[in-house]
């Protein structure tokens, strides 16, 4: 956590709503995306993220000074999104899509190569969408949000030693899903 965020948290703890607004602005995209990956609904994700930020504000007094804020927040976000998904009775499968626009710094060597690459990416995305929420979240935290093991442990609410095995299982299931799609 940067010193500026620590300072904002200290001010928010004293009741400065403006400081908290800055904290929210810095984390709103990540919180919304995590909530969306769990709930599968943009509307639910927005409300889950809002509710999570409100709960986090009320719980700031219990937040330990110097601890990383993002994983602590993401745990609250994930709970809120999970509750909404369960309340709505939605199935877990998530309709993920990749951006149409190809990264400009990596042009494909040929149309055939581009097609193969797009197919592979599509399979990976589809398999990711079929994972259960626990596995998908572990993959997203590690590879999409680049959380460290310690941060993942805090966000997932498990011991640091458990993170590796959990991630390993999630990757194995992801591979299995892709292989099953190939059959």
């Amino acid at each position: 956590m940067s010193s500026s965020e620590a300072s904002l948290i200290a001010r928010a703890k004293r009741g400065e709503v403006r400081a908290y607004e800055e904290i929210v602005a810095g984390h709103q995209a990540t919180a919304f995306r995590v909530a969306w990956l769990i709930s599968g609904s943009a509307t639910d994700a927005e409300e889950a993220a809002q509710d999570a930020f409100l709960k986090a504000y009320r719980a700031l007094g219990r937040f330990r000074d110097g601890a990383p804020f993002r994983p602590w927040l993401l745990r609250i976000v994930a709970n809120e999104a999970r509750n909404r998904r369960v309340a709505a009775g939605r199935r877990e499968r998530l309709a993920l899509r990749a951006l149409e626009e190809r990264r400009r710094d990596e042009p494909a060597a040929s149309p055939e190569e581009a097609l193969l690459e797009a197919e592979g990416r599509g399979e990976l995305i589809a398999a990711l969408g079929r994972l259960d929420e626990r596995d998908r979240l572990a993959v997203a935290y590690r590879y999409f949000l680049d959380l460290s093991e310690a941060e993942m442990a805090a966000a997932l609410g498990c011991r640091r030693g458990t993170v590796k095995s959990r991630l390993s299982r999630a990757l194995a299931r992801l591979r299995t899903e892709m292989e099953a799609a190939d059959d």
Binding site: R14, G15, E16, V17, R18, Y20, E21, E22, V24, A25, Q28, A29, A31, F32, R33, W36, A42, T43, D44, A45, E46, E47, A49, Q50, F53, L54, Y57, R58, R84, A87, A88, L96, R97, A98, L99, E100, R103, G120, R121, L124, I125, L128, V139, A140, Y143, F144, L145, D146, L171, R175
Partner: protein
């Protein structure tokens, strides 16, 4: 890192997420509303910052100043303030006088929802099982909020008796709450219930009884008291960015059923 993990890392930057909504502004707004509610209940209020206090004071002065300037008899105070994105509700001791029911005020006719859609920044929501609306309107320029406002009317029928305030069986108004925060205003006198609830997981407020409804200018936040009119039972529901106002001579359960049946208009 394996090739598989490298591909996953790359994929993270290529996923198409829905656009992130303005959550920070909404959270700040809700913190202010809940803060006021906490003090009303006598519970442990959150710390009120100088900025929040100034905002409340400014809002109070705007409301009282605007009302008093336009309606001399309305020398009242705001007793309470609750709201959703796109709507603000004030509890007042009594309603200002000289205000009538003016159905259709500030609306211009559009032919269909599809044609109205071109003037709106949001996808309209339509109630299922009520059929096509009998009237489709857009807010006239002088009261048009940023992002536009859609008004749908449904003729009186069984289960939807004619409202003396709107002249129709059901009136639905929709705005983009992100673009026009606090645009729908309500003055609710003592004795008329204001109930906060959830409808299919969405935040909602139910006002049961006679109150006054007015538009606010969303850009400068002054009150268009000239557009104030009497209103009957109303359910306000926040569906994502869209604030829906459901007004009719119906009870809460019927209004909730209508709100729960709202579906995005076909593309």
């Amino acid at each position: 890192m394996t090739e598989f993990e490298r591909r996953l890392g790359q994929l993270g930057g290529e996923l198409e997420y829905p656009p992130t909504p303005p959550i920070a502004a909404a959270v700040t707004q809700r913190l202010g509303v809940d803060d006021a509610a906490g003090r009303r209940r006598g519970g442990r209020a959150w710390p009120l910052t100088a900025r929040a206090a100034l905002l409340c004071a400014a809002l109070f002065l705007l409301l009282v100043g605007g009302v008093v300037a336009a309606v001399p008899s309305a020398r009242h105070a705001v007793l309470d303030l609750v709201g959703l994105r796109g709507a603000t509700i004030e509890r007042v001791p009594s309603l200002p006088g000289g205000v009538g029911a003016w159905p259709g005020v500030g609306a211009t006719r559009a032919s269909t929802v599809e044609s109205a859609r071109r003037s709106l920044s949001f996808r309209p929501l339509l109630p299922a099982r009520l059929g096509e609306p009998d009237g489709v309107f857009l807010a006239a320029d002088e009261v048009r909020p940023p992002g536009g406002e859609l008004l749908l009317t449904y003729a009186p029928r069984a289960g939807l008796p004619r409202s003396r305030y709107t002249g129709v069986g059901l009136l639905l108004s929709e705005i983009n709450g992100n673009f026009a925060p606090g645009f729908f205003g309500k003055m609710v006198p003592r004795g008329v219930p204001i109930v906060r609830l959830r409808v299919a997981g969405n935040y909602a407020i139910w006002v049961e009884g006679l109150h006054q409804f007015f538009y606010k200018d969303a850009e400068i936040h002054t009150f268009r008291i000239g557009r104030t009119r009497l209103a009957g039972n109303t359910l306000l529901v926040q569906r994502g960015a869209v604030m829906v106002r459901i007004e009719g001579k119906v009870g809460l359960e019927r209004a909730k059923a209508i709100a729960a049946s709202l579906r995005p208009a076909p593309d």
